[in-house]
């Protein structure tokens, strides 16, 4: 008990004291995960919209596939990306293995089905009258699509936040394709795993607190946006 208390105290000192090592790791985590989420969000939302409002062959199979990929283990994604990016792999010549780019690719693959599946659910449950009203008032199809997305924005926002929360906290893929290299590819979860294995709990707890505060902040942001809408 005393050890946990001591480690937590040290963790807070590390965080609040602005320990450069800790904040560098936090910076790498945010940089990688924000890039991944930014790159996949537009395509995910477009695909989710097509799955919700389109009527094409294979639509149901695609929906089931994306829902299945929600449960894909991060290590499986890591393994797949590793095989593709390793020296003998099909993309080995690009020399991307153990780089932040490889981590971004892995996290994009993890986040993509989450944003698609959750956005699809949000759009599917939105009122069809939004699309019809927009079209009948003269909106082009892209304009009508953006109108539907705006009306379902809280569901879409929740989808993006859920995906971001998943990828910033995943360890398997980042460890495999990033390599956990200090100052280069060490992010929050890989650092926690390493420090814990070394018995250095303070840094692990400090980084864990960052993740917890992040989750809290994102959820508060979403709740306050919903509250403002209800009170409007």
């Amino acid at each position: 008990m005393q050890d946990i208390y001591q480690a937590t105290k040290e963790a807070l000192i590390l965080l609040l004291g602005g320990d450069p090592g800790i904040w560098e790791i936090v910076g790498i985590s945010f940089s990688v995960s924000l890039q991944a989420i930014l790159y996949i969000t537009p395509l995910s939302l477009l695909l989710a919209f097509l799955l919700a409002f389109g009527n094409f062959r294979g639509r149901r199979i695609l929906i089931s596939t994306f829902h299945t990929f929600l449960a894909i283990p991060a290590v499986v994604v890591g393994l797949t990306v590793y095989i593709f990016l390793s020296r003998n792999g099909p993309l080995g010549d690009l020399g991307l293995l153990f780089s932040q780019t490889a981590m971004v690719i892995g996290q994009m693959i993890l986040a993509f089905p989450i944003v698609v599946a959750m956005s699809h659910s949000a759009l599917q449950s939105s009122d069809r009258a939004i699309w019809e009203t927009a079209k009948t008032l003269g909106a082009s199809s892209p304009k009508a699509m953006f109108t539907v997305m705006y009306e379902a924005r809280f569901g879409l926002f929740a989808a993006v936040i859920a995906a971001f929360s998943r990828i910033i906290a995943e360890v398997g893929c980042s460890m495999m394709v990033g390599g956990n290299i200090l100052h280069h590819t060490r992010n929050i979860p890989t650092a926690i795993a390493l420090e814990t294995s070394k018995g250095e709990f303070a840094q692990g707890i400090a980084l864990g607190l960052v993740l917890l505060f992040l989750a809290l902040a994102l959820n508060l942001l979403l709740s306050s946006a919903r509250y403002r809408l209800e009170m409007a």
Binding site: I130, E132, T133, T136, L137, G138, K143, E151, A232
Partner: protein
């Protein structure tokens, strides 16, 4: 461009059920047509097909004696008709932005949008609602905002799906008055409603949708004198 639109051999099927099988139906400029029918008879489906929002299994659409394939017909219908849902959808923004939607969607210059929206809101006597969030309006207010939102884009035909359903007497009266004013301006209107008596003063034709087909009903002496400038409400007519 105003002109008659004729629909021939309209067929809509849901599963094994042939919901609509209409031989011919014409909407003419300046007319007010009422379509009645039992619940589930296909009134909403027909109105959505007429507005280009729903694809029928079969249909020949003719405009100015030119027969159009569905892809072209759909685009023509969407540009000429504005469809209002039974419970109009209000975008999650102010009444002003809701009314401005159609103009902004068609890239009308900002200054003109402002001027036209205010003009239309004053015309509908809704200017006091301007800053309010449209989602929080009452059923009657929503219907009148939706009518104003439709009027501003100046459609050739206005398609109203049960415009006075589930409304209190006051809201029904105000909505009716607005529809009558739209018609007196020369707007062509197609209304679906169970309440035939309520609209008897403004309609030119009444069709009954039965077994998927439209049957014309004789409205006899109740036919409206629709060029009259006086606004006569059904309440006055019935001496309520």
């Amino acid at each position: 461009m105003q002109g008659s639109v004729r629909f021939d051999n309209v067929e809509k099927v849901y599963g094994d059920r042939v919901l609509l099988s209409i031989d011919t139906f014409t909407v003419n400029p300046g007319q007010c047509i009422l379509i009645s029918g039992d619940n589930g008879s296909g009134k909403t489906t027909l109105l959505k097909i007429m507005s280009g929002l729903l694809k029928p299994e079969k249909a020949t659409v003719t405009k100015n004696d030119v027969s159009l394939p569905w892809v072209k017909a759909k685009s023509m219908l969407q540009s000429e008709m504005v469809y209002l849902h039974q419970t109009p959808y209000m975008f999650d923004t102010s009444v002003f932005n809701n009314v401005a939607y159609g103009l902004r969607a068609t890239k009308v210059p900002k200054a003109q949008v402002e001027e036209k929206v205010w003009q239309c809101l004053r015309w509908a006597r809704l200017d006091h609602l301007t800053p309010r969030n449209a989602k929080l309006l009452s059923g009657g207010e929503r219907q009148r905002v939706a009518l104003t939102r439709a009027r501003i884009v100046n459609p050739s035909f206005l398609i109203l799906d049960e415009p006075t359903a589930n409304m209190d007497r006051g809201s029904r009266h105000q909505t009716y008055e607005l529809i009558q004013r739209l018609q007196s301006e020369g707007m062509s209107i197609v209304i679906s409603s169970h309440d035939v008596e309520f609209f008897a003063n403004i309609i030119d034709f009444h069709y009954f949708l039965e077994a998927g087909n439209l049957r014309k009903i004789d409205i006899g002496t109740k036919q409206r004198k629709h060029k009259s400038s006086a606004v006569v409400t059904p309440f006055q007519r019935k001496g309520r």
